[in-house]
């Protein structure tokens, strides 16, 4: 499965992001950011399904919470940054 990871500055920020998405009908789960994408150490992100990213970014921009980074997680577990 391919997923997108919306990188968040903190756990609380990730929780808020997930709640906003949930209210908009977009499922997102808060997970610890994989170490390879968490350059400053101990980060959090919200994982959303591949087909939901566009809607998710629209909701977050509308709420003034546009993410700084988004990563694509391939089926093989490889992460690549995509434009946020």
């Amino acid at each position: 499965m391919v997923h997108y990871l919306i990188v968040c500055r903190s756990l609380t920020h990730a929780q808020r992001t997930a709640h906003l998405l949930e209210r908009a009908g977009i499922a997102g789960s808060v997970i610890r950011a994989p170490k390879v994408i968490s350059k400053e150490g101990c980060g959090y992100c919200v994982r959303v399904a591949e087909r939901k990213l566009t809607d998710a970014l629209m909701v977050l921009r509308r709420e003034g919470m546009a993410p700084r980074q988004v990563f694509l997680q391939s089926a093989e577990g490889v992460y690549s940054e995509v434009p946020a």
Partner: protein, 376 residues
């Protein structure tokens, strides 16, 4: 026991509060310190606590809600953030040591006191209007006096601060859960409150609502940006170093749910009714002076002729009535009201007290006063 010391701590809690705190003790780990279910459960509950606090107290973003150990902790962070050495701070005449001591401890801070008359909101506002001069950097005011239950005109003082561009710190220790507290409407820089009084949470909990730039009082692990040695520059992590009081926060969440369900307006109306009943009965006792006014919450103070307030408090305690006597950690409030030498005996109610308890407590006061020194 008739417990009338809720201005210190509400002792009787909704049943859900101790149950939730005990449940969390063995099921919730540290939020933000792991991805396992026990950590996630704790994190989720902490977030719900912030979210409900934001809803109850007019905060846009749950990230602005900081979980503290008590109101004193929150006030210290607020003062540390805004009051720099050499600053001039204007405070009300009814502030607690939680405000005056941190100010006293800061070097070269000039403290101006807006000592308005007791139970005279217009008078207090006028003093603030006069004393809020160009030299003032920060204003600090409590919403309700912990000694007299005097509801200060915080809305008007907040508007004045906004108009003059001076940040305001509000101590909502006696009002959170009892009176409307609206961070956004006030435009306050910070609002601090305890969790263990009107929000019915456990001791060791509190909230700080942040609307201004912050400076951490405590540095350490936050579960975020671990490689960096500076504290994170975002809330709540910036102000929440170290393992948090998860059990306390879970209890506080249960307490706030009780307040929301019951309704702040209803709680306030009930407490006012109880306190009014108590004051009516105490006022009828010869030798008892009741400090009573129009703008008053469910807290009241009394003095008894020719009896030391501590003797009265102790005599009440022996007869099963829990009150607090003395200066209530607020010598400034007593100085402003003219009771610094005598101190007072303070009665304070909660949503769990009853009318019968008011009558009984007043009757016991009558017995103590009638018997005088023989009661000891």
């Amino acid at each position: 026991m008739i417990y009338l010391d809720s201005a210190a701590t509400t002792l009787e809690k909704p049943r859900s509060v101790p149950a939730a705190a005990a449940w969390a003790m063995t099921r919730m780990a540290s939020p933000g310190r792991g991805g396992h279910p026990a950590s996630v459960l704790a994190a989720d509950t902490m977030y719900r606590c912030r979210e409900l606090a934001a809803e109850l107290f007019g905060v846009d973003d749950p990230e602005q809600v900081i979980l503290t150990s008590n109101a004193t902790h929150g006030l210290n962070i607020a003062i540390h953030s805004l009051v720099r050495p050499g600053a001039a701070v204007l405070i009300s005449g009814y502030e607690h040591n939680a405000v005056t001591r941190p100010l006293y401890a800061r070097p070269d801070v000039k403290v101006k006191i807006a000592a308005g008359p007791l139970f005279d909101g217009d008078g207090v506002y006028e003093v603030f209007r006069r004393e809020l001069t160009a030299e003032v950097d920060v204003v600090i005011c409590n919403h309700v006096s912990n000694v007299f239950g005097f509801v200060q005109p915080v809305e008007r003082i907040a508007a004045l601060c906004k108009e003059r561009g001076v940040p305001l710190i509000v101590d909502a220790s006696q009002s959170a859960g009892v009176l409307p507290v609206d961070m956004k409407q006030w435009g306050a820089a910070f609002v601090a409150m305890p969790g263990h009084k009107g929000l019915y949470g456990p001791q060791g909990t509190g909230l700080l609502l942040c609307g201004a730039e912050t400076r951490p009082l405590l540095c350490g692990g936050t579960g975020s940006q671990s490689r960096r040695q500076e504290m994170p520059d975002f809330l709540p992590d910036r102000l929440e170093a170290g393992t948090q009081n998860v059990c306390g926060a879970v209890g506080l969440l249960a307490g706030m749910r009780f307040v929301k369900e019951k309704g702040i307006g209803r709680i306030h109306a009930y407490e006012i009714r109880l306190a009014g009943r108590l004051m009516d009965r105490l006022s009828a006792i010869p030798g008892v002076t009741v400090y009573r006014g129009a703008d008053q919450s469910g807290v009241c103070s009394v003095t008894v002729d020719r009896m030391d307030c501590e003797e009265v408090g102790a005599a009440l305690g022996r007869r099963g009535v829990a009150v607090r006597a003395g200066l209530h950690c607020s010598p400034l409030a007593h100085r402003t009201a003219g009771t610094e030498e005598s101190g007072t005996v303070r009665f304070s109610v909660s949503a769990f007290n009853t009318a019968w308890q008011m009558d009984r407590a007043a009757e016991i006061v009558r017995q103590i006063v009638t018997q005088g020194k023989g009661a000891r």
